[in-house]
Symmetry: C2
Subunit: 141 residues, 2 copies
């Protein structure tokens, strides 16, 4: 029986750091837990689960606002899950877009690095490409 955990133990159990837990409480993402006689926060199992949920969603790159919606959905299990699905899909698109533009950047950087003859700055391909945008096939966002 370890019903009530101090914030440090909650941090260890959930993988969310102590100041981050306090921060989540401050922005209203985590409810304010009850306090001990000595004014310390006491977390129950439900809180730990919610923290782990938040942490995993953050690791998957969801924004706090999206997570706010996801946790409220989680608290309301009778609702249809279309909203959660939509959020995940939307986020998937964002991630795909990000991968596409990073891949384009990767191509440009590779061209820069390959073109470098390791001579002096004034004939350096890296600096050249940066100075003259026209030299690269940068697809604009």
């Amino acid at each position: 029986m370890h019903e009530q955990l101090a914030i440090g133990e909650a941090a260890r159990a959930s993988g969310v750091k102590v100041p981050t837990i306090r921060y989540y409480e401050q922005i209203g993402l985590l409810p304010s837990p009850p306090r001990s006689e000595g004014n310390r926060r006491l977390y129950g199992e439900g809180d730990i689960r919610r923290l782990a949920f938040i942490r995993h969603a953050r690791e998957l790159g969801f924004e706090i606002e999206a997570i706010r919606t996801l946790v409220s959905l989680q608290d309301d299990p009778d609702q249809p899950c279309a909203a959660a699905d939509a959020l995940a899909k939307q986020h998937l698109e964002t991630v795909e877009q990000r991968i596409r533009s990073l891949t384009a950047l990767k191509g440009e950087l590779e061209a820069m690095v390959e073109g470098c003859r390791h001579g002096r700055i004034d004939e350096c391909r890296v600096i050249e490409v940066l100075a003259d945008h026209g030299q690269c096939r940068h697809a604009h966002h």
Copy 2:
């Protein structure tokens, strides 16, 4: 002959927004230009070129600190370009790493979305996976 440009014209010519130009001056990335009688900033061609250089480097995802080095290299054309090359290579690696982890996330998100049966929240795969980390093969950073 349009030697001296006001900040708005410099912004249009370089593609860097007005407040961003002032910000770059404030952090010492762009030298403080001379002023007109009426205290307005006056930019020459060299400034426009530097701004375009910075903008392009930012578009390629270089951090301000890296750009600080790159512009100082650019100003010193007799130096060997190993330093510029190293910066570009290092950045390329960062970008590749970022692509790898985003691709992993993409896989997880796809699994979540595909697994969703569009029923109620309490049987929603999206919420489930978020709640229980063990259900996904998330490779930890």
